[in-house]
Each structure stands twice: as structure tokens, then as C-alpha cells.
Amino acid sequence: MFGWEFPPHISGGLGTACYGLTKGLSVYNDLQIRFVIPKAFGDEDQSVIRITGANQVELGTKDRDYKAFLEKIQFVEINSNLIPYTDPDEYYRLVNQDKSGINQYIHTTFSGTIDFKGGYGGNLFQEIANYAIIASVLAAENDFDIIHAHDWLTYPAGIAAKQVSGKPLVIHVHATDFDRSGGNVNPGVYELELKGMHAADKIIAVSNLTRETIINKYGINPGKVVTVYNAVDPIDSDLSLSYENRIKDKIVTFLGRITMQKGPEYFIEVAHKVLQKMDNVRFVMAGSGDMMVKMIHRAASLRIMDKFHFTGFLKGEDVYRMFALSDVYVMPSVSEPFGISPLEALHSNVPVIISRQSGVSEILKYAIKVDFWDIHAMADAIYGILNYKALSEMFVKYGRKEVEEMRWENSARKVRQIYNTLIK
């Protein structure tokens, strides 16, 4: 399995989903997973799978015709400084750092191991290409039955491994560039995605929404694309209960990257609407991202900053603490292939309002669904949940039950079935 991130070093849902899925798959004793990430930090949970960092794989000690590999995976060598997948934190760090990395790569390549930074840095395409080289090496030296690649960064690796070994390739689409960019698709990324999808023997989409995108925007044969929904790990119930809400006001929460994809501006407009009618309510925007400054300006110009709070990026336990304090969780995403966070919110007994433009809305029944642009409906839903007790009680009572039934084991079973059809 190829993935770009793995807990605890994650920037979003991708790593969480990879972890959940591999854990779900670990119930099958006849199935061994080797999970390859660009850089292993050593503190990953290896109890159920074997983690390999691409940075640990030795190349130079073996006598090998790397040129042949390179020819095979020629297309990944895109000489470009594009920064396609911007994890905002990473991006800010990157801007302030020297760009000598490019040369370093060239020096270290073939000398033993390749150094990977991980994350989503400026030399991303170079890293992707290097990662693919490692993949082909691993594919040649190891015995395995299935190649499973998560998201576009690892598609070249998947393709390379398939070309070397001839084994079937499963591509797992957690998001497409149409989701991330809001329509301004990066041609470089699109090309990689397209190649991955064409090379794949089977494509797993995290929702029907994503499946439709794959079929319609990438022209893939519908028979090849299967939907397997994500799930959520039950959180420690002690953890969520141990925080007591000391604030009397009701709290409405947005949690996620503050980027165009997540629709933060709609949340602010909605807050403004609700605050005109209600006094005992506060809004929290948790997360960081390239639109954060703009959002602060907008909230200030609406004069709601006394009731509107920015927390910055939240990690680990803070996320659960935030949920524990919340009365409503809102996910106004413009385009969300799946969206695990509403499930986590429901796990913490928080009612959720989600946009119809999200994959998770296909499977959640006990949630209010609105179009992301419909701020009137969203404001009304927030007001309804905060003021009409029966509604929030119902969501908490049945919503929690509902998400508890969404287990990674179920997703894993479907993935296992797909494996079975490919191995034969």
C-alpha cells in the first residue's frame, strides 16, 4: 500500500482514512499489509501493519539499472515548481525556507537512500518521482499480490510497481483535484490522476459523489469504479466527557482547513445572520489555511468578532475538546469527497449540519443537509437545533447510533472483496 501520510503526522483526512482502513483490514489473518510512506518518523502505530519509509530504502548497495526504471516511469519526471497540493501550514513554512533542496536531491539520489521530506512541499513533483523509483525497487525485491495506492501523490508509485511486478493495481481516490481546486484544475495533477486511473485495475471512490467525478471528469469506465465509504474510529468516551462546558453561550463550530474547498466564508455569513436574532451563541472557526486572514477581515467588518472566535489549527485531543464544547457542528464544504469530521462530531454527541456537496451526506440520515451556498437554510438549521430541543435530542440519540454502525471493518470487508476479485 502506498500512502503519502500516516498518523500522527497528518494534515487532514487522508492519513486518518489510511490508518482506519489498514486497521480494519488487519482482522484478516491471511492479509499482510506493507504501508509505504515517503518519510517514516518512527512514532507511527505499527501494531497492525508494517510501515516502511521510502527514505529508508537503500538503492545504492544493489547493482541495478536505474535508468531502465527511470525510463519506465518517465512521465513522472515533471520538471516543475508547481505547488499543487497546498497544505497551508506546510506552505507557509515553505515560503520562508531556502530552496536549495532541489540540488540536494540530485546529490543524494542513487547514493544509498533518498531523502524525503514528506508533507506537501515545493519540490512535491520531484518527491513524487523519487517515491515512484523507490516503489519500483520495492516491487522488484518483494513478493506481494496487490498494489493499493492512496490519492494522486502515490499513483506514479503504484504504476511503477505495477509495471515492474505485473501485479494488479487498486487506486483509492480520497479526493480529486476538482474538489481541491474548485474547478481550476492543475493540469499536472490532473495528468497524474488520469494516468493512475487508466493504469488501475480497480478504482475505489470514497463516495458516489467522487465516483461520479471520476466517471464524468476523467472518462473512466463506470464498471471499474467502486464506492467504499469511509468510517470513523470510536473515540475514547472518557476523553470527550471529561471536558465540561463552562461557557453559558451555545457554541457553533466549524472545524477544518480554512480553504476555499471547505466553504469558511459561508460559515461567517451564517454566523452574522444568526447573531442578528440570537444573543447567547458563539461561533468558533477552528483550523488554519490560506483564507484565514481574509476570514478574519470579513468577520471584523461584519462586527461580529465579539462572538466569533478563531482557534488556529487544532490537533489530537484539542479536537475532541472542541467537539465536547460544541452544540452544533457545521461543515459547509463546497466540495467534499467524503468528510470524516461530521462522523467524529456525532461520536462526541454533537448534532451536525453538512453540505449536500459532501460524500458523507450520502450515508448520514440523522443530520441536516443544506446546499453550501444556501446561507439562509444553514442559518435556519442552526437556529432550529439551538432553539428546538427535540431536534438536537433526536440527532444526538440516533446520530450516535448511526455512526457507531459505520465501522472500518465494514469498509475493509468491501476492500477485501475487491482484492479477492483481482487475485482470483
Binding site: K273, K277, K365, A379, D380, A381, Y383, N387, Y388, M394
Partner: protein, 486 residues
């Protein structure tokens, strides 16, 4: 001679418009006129008008022999009046034939029978008044909203003086017994109970055009053959259904109208059944036993219970919050508020909040204006919140409410006064621009105190406040202008 009793339900709710929480306290109009009118017009053209024309035709073809009954909810009548008066006229023509009986129900097609005795009685009375007014009949037989029935409700209906009541021949109530007899209420045996034969009724209402049904297509010959197969001892077959079955649930293209047209002839010719109305059944037949219904039943869904309207927490909350207001309404005379109270009770609003269709996947989206039950609930609660605010203003109960009502009244008065002064200032400033001479005259008169009266008479009808105050005000205005002039 055996009896075939046809009864049709006619109902259309007033659907609410999208009512956001910002509207609470600001906007008191709750209805989606466009949707209501367009749906009613559509159903009138596809169902009510052609079906009524056909019924009239059949009654004329089989005079005295083809008989049937209707129950038209009060809200449906209101809508006919607003959007399709010709439908009312066609029902009136049916009433005039003497072969059609109209039944009593609750005016708002509401669930009030489950909650409030007095309100129940009042609503039935409202409906009966309407039936008398439009169809010149006073109903003797009662049918409750969605055929909801229990021993308790039956006893109340008997108390109101009705001879008979209609309900569902639910399997779990009847057990081995047949619906094809006349029964009576378990508490008050004077009230006769007619039970719907749901098998034969639903064959027409739901399965008629179902091509997956083993009996498809349903012909009148086949249907009459089924009637003939019924044990000769059984006395009555009650076919109860929505009137919208004809042309709306079952489109014209399915042949439903031709089926209806051919039915009376075939029944009268090839079976020993005759058509009767519910009150004739009650008069002619003897009840065979009491029917025991401890918990309310209805004609809805597989379960034949109330879960479609009151099955989940949202529905119960909305329902309870609504009827918490009932006692305040006794003191209300305002017709607009009373109308809203009526339309808030329409059972369909609760039906839209139903979540049980999640499980069987069958979405009951028929004319449902909402995308989800939560939408329906929030919208309803927003409207109810506004209604309660208006109600409390009219019927102040707590000290705060009284104070509020009082202050609101004072505010209103002051508003009016300010408006008046504004108009006066405007008039005077106009005067000063156009003819300063006249203005001088006027201001002198005002200062002389006697002028106030004249000002008042000149401003016809608009003023009734204290002339003196106004004069002082104007004086100030006048001097202001003058000094500026210098």
C-alpha cells in the same frame, strides 16, 4: 341483497411557505400561495372536476341506485373557494341529486381528537357548519382524520350525536373477524362502526396500475367476481379511499376512469350488491358485535397506527407545543389568528416530519414541499414561534406579557402620532415654499389657539390627537423657519 358502500376522502392542506427564523416576529403570513394554488389547480383539473362529472353522469344513468359518500375537509373547501370555486359547484350538483352523502370530520383535517376534547368538538362543529352552508346537508355519520379511531374517540363522537363512524378494518384489531359486517363502539354501543375492507379498497387505490401485481390488469369483471366470492352471509363491503385515486394517484392513462364508469353497471347487473351510503348502512343493518380498539388506529401504512404523524420526537414535540396553546385560543376573536390556528393543526404538517420512511426506503414525497423531515420541523416550529408571539400579544398571560402588550399598544399610538406630525410638517414646509403669505396666515391662526381646529378640519380624517400640542409643535417649526429666513 348485500351492501356496497363507497366513500371518498377529499383533502388538500395549506402548505406553508419557507419561513426562516428571521421572519419570526416580523412576518405573519405563513402560506405558500403559489404552491397551494398550482397543486390545487392541477388536482382539480386532473381529478376533482373529471371525477365529479363522471359521478354525476353515473348517478343520472342509475338514478337512486348508484349512491356514494364524500368527506371534504374544511381546509380543502377553503382552498376550493379560493382557487377553484367550480369544484365546489360540481360537488353541490352531486349533493343535489340526493344520492350523495357528506360526512362530518374535523375542519382542519387535524389530529385534535387525540389531544383535546373541547377543541375536537368545536372543530367538528366548524366543519358541519361548512357542510350545511355549501351542501345543505347535516351529517349524521362521522369520519375522523385518516380514519383515526379508538374506543375513546368513538365514545366522544357518539356523545356529539353521531349515529355511525368510519374506520380502518385493521387486521390487528379484527383478528379472525371480518370487516364485512357492521360493528359498534365498545363503550357506547349506539355508535355503529363501518370498517374499511382494505384488501378490496387498496386493490383499486394502490394496486390498480401496478404492473408487478399478479392480478394486473384489474377489470370490473374481475373485481365483481371477487365481490361475488365473498361469503354470502357477509353483509357489507366498505370501499374507502382517497378521491385523488381517480386521475391523480392513478393517472387517467391507467384506465381508472373507465374502471369507475363501468363499475356500477357491472355490480348492479352481475352481483347481488346494491350501493348504499354510510347513514343507510347504519339505519338498515344491525351491528354484529363491538369492536375493541384500545389504542388509536388509522388507515396509514402497513402498521395502521399513528406513527406516520406522531411516531418520532420531532412530531411529538411540535404536536405538544401546538396544543399547549389551545386554552389561550378560547379568548381569541381575531379571525386571522383563528384561521392560522386552524391551518397550523392540519395533520399533513406532522406527516412531513416523519422519519420512519428512512428504513423501508419508500419516500413519501407525494406533494411534500420539504426536502427532509428536519426541514419540515424547523419550518413548522419557526411558524409556531411567531404564532405564539402574536397569541401572547393578544392574550397576555404573564405579567411580562401584559406589560409588553401594554407597551406595544402605547408604541403604536405614538407611532400614529408621529406620522401625523410628520404629515403636518410636510404640509407646512410645502406651504412656506409655495405661498409664504398663506403660511404667515396659518401660523398666526395656530398661535391664536383657535386655529388648531381649522387645521384639523382641513386635514380631513387624518387627525384626531390633541390639537393644542400640534399647534405648539408647528409654532416651533414656524419660528424656526422664520429665523432662518432672516
Amino acid at each position: 341483497m348485500r351492501n356496497l358502500c363507497l366513500y371518498f376522502q377529499v383533502h388538500q392542506p395549506f402548505r406553508f411557505r419557507r419561513y426562516r427564523f428571521f421572519d419570526i416576529g416580523n412576518e405573519h403570513y405563513y402560506y405558500d400561495d403559489y404552491t397551494n394554488e398550482s397543486i390545487l389547480r392541477k388536482v382539480a383539473d386532473k381529478c376533482y372536476l373529471p371525477a365529479n362529472a363522471l359521478m354525476l353522469n353515473l348517478i343520472k344513468r342509475y338514478p337512486g341506485k348508484f349512491r356514494l359518500a364524500f368527506s371534504i375537509s374544511g381546509v380543502a373547501i377553503d382552498q376550493f373557494e379560493l382557487y377553484a370555486p367550480e369544484v365546489l359547484e360540481s360537488f353541490r350538483q352531486l349533493a343535489d341529486t340526493g344520492s350523495v352523502e357528506f360526512l362530518a370530520e374535523t375542519n382542519a383535517h387535524s389530529l385534535v381528537s387525540l389531544k383535546d376534547r373541547n377543541e375536537f368538538k368545536e372543530q367538528v362543529q366548524l366543519h358541519v357548519d361548512k357542510i350545511k352552508k355549501y351542501f345543505r346537508q347535516s351529517p349524521k355519520v362521522f369520519r375522523n382524520t385518516e380514519l383515526i379511531y379508538s374506543d375513546e374517540i368513538g365514545a366522544q363522537v357518539a356523545e356529539m350525536g353521531y349515529e355511525a363512524m368510519l374506520t380502518e378494518g385493521a387486521k390487528h384489531i379484527l383478528g379472525w373477524k371480518s370487516p364485512n359486517y357492521l360493528y359498534c363502539n365498545a363503550i357506547n354501543p349506539k355508535l355503529k362502526i363501518l370498517l374499511k375492507n382494505f384488501k378490496l379498497s387498496d386493490d383499486i387505490a394502490f394496486r390498480f396500475s401496478d404492473q408487478g401485481w399478479s392480478e394486473y390488469p384489474l377489470t370490473v369483471e374481475k373485481f365483481v367476481a371477487w365481490l361475488n366470492q365473498i361469503d354470502k352471509k357477509e353483509e357489507i363491503v366498505n370501499l374507502f379511499m382517497d378521491y385523488e385515486t381517480f386521475g391523480e394517484h392513478q393517472w387517467e392513462g391507467t384506465g381508472i376512469f373507465r374502471f369507475l364508469e363501468a363499475l356500477p353497471g357491472e355490480v348492479l347487473k352481475h352481483s347481488d350488491f346494491v350501493f348504499v351510503t354510510p347513514s343507510e348502512v347504519a339505519a338498515n343493518l344491525q351491528p354484529v358485535a363491538a369492536v375493541q380498539v384500545a389504542y388509536p388506529i388509522s388507515w396509514a401504512d402497513e402498521e395502521r397506527d399513528l406513527t406516520a404523524w406522531l411516531g418520532n420526537e420531532l412530531q411529538q414535540e411540535a404536536f405538544n407545543k401546538l396544543y399547549e396553546q389551545a386554552w389561550k385560543l378560547e379568548q381569541v376573536k381575531d379571525p386571522v389568528l383563528l384561521k392560522d390556528w386552524n391551518y397550523l393543526q392540519v395533520s399533513d404538517h406532522f406527516y412531513y416530519m416523519c422519519t420512519k420512511f428512512f428504513s423501508d426506503g419508500a419516500v413519501h414525497s407525494y406533494f411534500n414541499p420539504y426536502q427532509s423531515p428536519y426541514d419540515a420541523f424547523i419550518n413548522y416550529m419557526n411558524i409556531l414561534s411567531d404564532f405564539v408571539i402574536r397569541l401572547n400579544a393578544l392574550v397576555p398571560q404573564t405579567g411580562i406579557d401584559k406589560e409588553k402588550a401594554n407597551l406595544a399598544h402605547i408604541l403604536e399610538e405614538k407611532e400614529k402620532q408621529i406620522e401625523k406630525y410628520k404629515a403636518e410638517i410636510e404640509r407646512l414646509s410645502e406651504l412656506i415654499n409655495t405661498s409664504p403669505g398663506k403660511f404667515e396666515e396659518e401660523s398666526d391662526r395656530i398661535m391664536n389657539n383657535g386655529g388648531a381646529k381649522k387645521v384639523r378640519t382641513r386635514k380631513a380624517g387624518a387627525s384626531s390627537g390633541s390639537g393644542k400640542k400640534k399647534a405648539i409643535e408647528k409654532k416651533g417649526e414656524a419660528t424656526g423657519k422664520k429665523s432662518r429666513g432672516k
